[in-house]
């Protein structure tokens, strides 16, 4: 009897101690599965139309082309060419995302034919005047966040895991993010962003997921709504192409200069 009581106490104690750890581990496992399933796509190109809407629903459009390469064990390399608005035509942006150190970023200014290395701690800054911050469009690496599993929830009829993400990198504009992962595909369906004061700032919804190369999912549409300003931005991805055979020489400063 005494032994049983002690055992019960032990079980209760360990459960109380271990459970939060277990919960965190589950969050990490879900995020890891999501990350692993998206490994091995090697490279892709796509075009992107960005629609910026203000509170009065007035719209402006941006057009960019994307070229990305996976770097095993590190973040992706991305080369972006701006096509519209026209004064930005020929402006180009190169970034090397890293997991454990600041990203490397260069900008090419077409009128001066000048390559300029820029600071990458503008993570919370708006990307091209949109509601997306640089950190929202940069490659999402597993170790950039700490994860906490919050439970299961349905989003637009899809069964999801609900996770809390806390950025581990410096200069993030967010205190935390709440993300919903599709239980079947492990793709993110929705993210709520909370600002530094922990107030709900933005909501990002992904739609039109398509499967490429038989197993990699990419969303056709991403919509970011800023709850504090009433502004929103829609990203429409088109012409995804995989298997381009890119290597490092397609993402160096010479490539940045000559990209079209």
């Amino acid at each position: 009897m005494k032994i049983q009581a002690e055992l019960l106490l032990f079980v209760l104690l360990t459960t109380a101690l271990v459970n939060p750890v277990l919960a965190d581990k589950k969050g990490y496992e879900i995020a890891k599965k999501s990350d692993t399933l998206d490994n091995g796509w090697k490279d892709s190109t796509s075009t992107l139309v960005m629609i910026l809407r203000d509170r009065q629903k007035r719209e402006v459009t941006r057009k960019i082309r994307n070229k990305t390469m996976e770097v095993p064990g590190d973040g992706d390399k991305t080369l972006i060419v701006f096509d519209a608005p026209r004064d930005l035509k020929g402006t180009k942006f190169l970034s090397y995302t890293h997991v454990n150190r600041p990203d490397d970023q260069w900008l090419y200014l077409n009128s001066l034919k000048r390559v300029k290395r820029i600071s990458s701690n503008n993570k919370s800054g708006p990307f091209m005047g949109s509601e997306f911050a640089y950190e929202d469009v940069a490659s999402q690496e597993l170790d950039k966040y700490e994860y906490k599993y919050l439970g299961d929830e349905k989003v637009n009829g899809i069964d999801c895991y609900k996770l809390e993400l806390t950025p581990t990198y410096k200069y993030s504009g967010y205190n935390k993010m709440i993300a919903w992962y599709n239980k079947k595909t492990y793709r993110v369906v929705k993210i709520d962003y909370y600002d530094r004061k922990d107030a709900l700032l933005k909501t990002l919804t992904f739609s039109g997921y398509r499967k490429y190369l038989g197993k990699y999912y990419r969303a056709d549409k991403m919509e970011m709504v800023n709850h504090q300003t009433g502004k929103s931005t829609v990203l429409l991805y088109k012409n995804y192409k995989f298997g381009n055979g890119f290597d490092d020489s397609d993402f160096d400063l010479n490539a940045l200069r000559r990209a079209r």
């Binding site: 004064d87 708006p126 400063l253 000559r258 079209r260």
Partner: protein, 404 residues
């Protein structure tokens, strides 16, 4: 002026027909701008004109022939209300470009930029300054070249053969923002017996190592910056005659990108070749930082603070205005839909009370127009200073640009 106008029309027609037809695989882009310059004071030389209107066209044609070959053509033309020298045209680029995995070849007229600093570009030497375009020297003339780029693990090496020299442009007698006396561009002097056909050579090595961007360069040939010889022109007026020397210049440019800080340094060392005209070798540098704070004043704007020190060991005001000067500047990037930007600053001479102030503002209008406003003011320039000629040329420039 009329020849320029006819050419402008021709280019416009060409640009229009290309953009209308999209001409197969030829890509076309470009810009056209209307510029107004307003001057606060009446000119120091009574022949100089007052407020001025000007128009420019800068189209760009690009065509890819195969996976690795392409050609770029960028003509430029400006029509100026008063200044005949500023009404000018140029081929900024007409370049064949071959790209391979480990090397690239550029053949034709092109533009190259080297360096990291903002106030002046000491290391940047391949292209001649189109000095009638802008007082800050940012506009360059097209340079004929053969350029081989070798891409290796240990860095990128760029080799240049430059077979033809471009003379610097200077404003004409009616123009503002010029030297007094006037520069006579009709009969430049060269140290090289081959004159404009002297073949120049240059090499540059560049590598990024972690947060460091390192460039080392060497140039051998005709100096892009002329010396001036006092003379008289056909009408007996005292003028400055450009004299282009032969020289060797070694340059270093360095940037350290660390957190919110960009640390920048450019150093050059120049030695003149000719024994007759040789001046003492000299060293010049520009160094400083750019510090950026994001999300300032509780908005989405970024504020950048710029400080640069400019030094030239000749300490000769007839050679450079930047013998020992400090530039303080601030750049406000609004990160808004219209990409609004405001840059302001001051250049202080540490030895005299000479000051130069500048403000630059730009904002997109709609999807394909831009408004750019610029103000330049100088004060306390003594008669020995190169800025003395500009003492009455405090200016407000308003530009309206259409992109196509």
């Amino acid at each position: 002026m009329y020849r320029h106008a006819a050419l402008l029309c021709l280019l416009l027609l060409l640009a229009w027909s290309f953009s209308a037809a999209r001409a197969g695989k030829t890509q076309i882009a470009g810009e056209m701008g209307l510029e107004a310059r307003l001057f606060r004071d009446s000119p120091a030389d009574s022949r100089q004109k007052g407020d001025n209107l000007s128009l420019y066209l800068k189209p760009e044609f690009y065509r890819k022939f195969s996976k690795s070959w392409s050609v770029t053509f960028r003509p430029f033309i400006r029509l100026d209300q008063h200044d005949k020298q500023r009404s000018h045209r140029d081929i900024r680029e007409l370049m064949f470009h071959k790209v391979a995995k480990t090397w690239e070849l550029k053949l034709g007229i092109s533009k190259v930029f080297w360096g990291v600093t903002e106030t002046q570009h000491l290391v940047d030497i391949i292209n001649q300054t189109d000095a009638v375009e802008a007082p800050d020297g940012e506009e360059k003339l097209g340079q004929p070249m053969l350029n081989l780029i070798l891409k290796r693990k240990w860095g990128t090496t760029s080799l240049f053969v430059l077979p033809y020299f471009r003379e610097r442009t200077f404003p004409g007698y009616r123009g503002r923002l010029r030297t007094i006396p006037l520069v006579d561009t009709t009969r430049p002097l060269y140290e090289s017996k081959d004159g404009q056909n002297n073949i120049d050579y240059a090499v540059r090595w560049f590598k990024t190592i972690g947060p460091w961007d390192i460039g080392l360069s060497h140039f051998n040939g005709t100096s892009r910056i002329p010396d001036f010889v006092a003379g008289t022109n056909a009408s007996g007026e005292a003028v400055l005659i450009p004299f282009y020397k032969q020289m060797n210049q070694t340059g270093l440019d360095l940037q350290l990108t660390k957190g919110s800080w960009l640390w920048k340094l450019e150093v050059i060392h120049r030695r003149d070749k000719g024994s007759t005209y040789a001046v003492t070798p000299y060293t010049a540098l520009t160094g400083g930082f750019e510090y950026t704070r994001t999300g300032v004043f509780k908005t989405r704007a970024d504020l950048g603070l710029l400080v640069e020190y400019l030094y030239d060991d000749r300490d000769d005001p007839t050679k450079t205005p930047f013998d020992s000067d400090v530039m303080f500047g601030a750049r406000l990037t609004f990160n808004d839909v219209a990409s609004t930007q405001l840059l302001g600053g001051i250049v202080l001479d540490t030895g005299t009370s000479e000051r130069a102030y500048f403000v630059e503002f730009s904002r997109r209008i709609g999807q394909s127009y831009k408004l750019a406003v610029e103000a330049r003011i100088s004060s306390n320039a003594g008669p020995a200073s190169p800025l003395y000629s500009l003492r009455n040329d405090d200016m407000l420039q308003i530009e309206f640009i259409k992109y196509f």
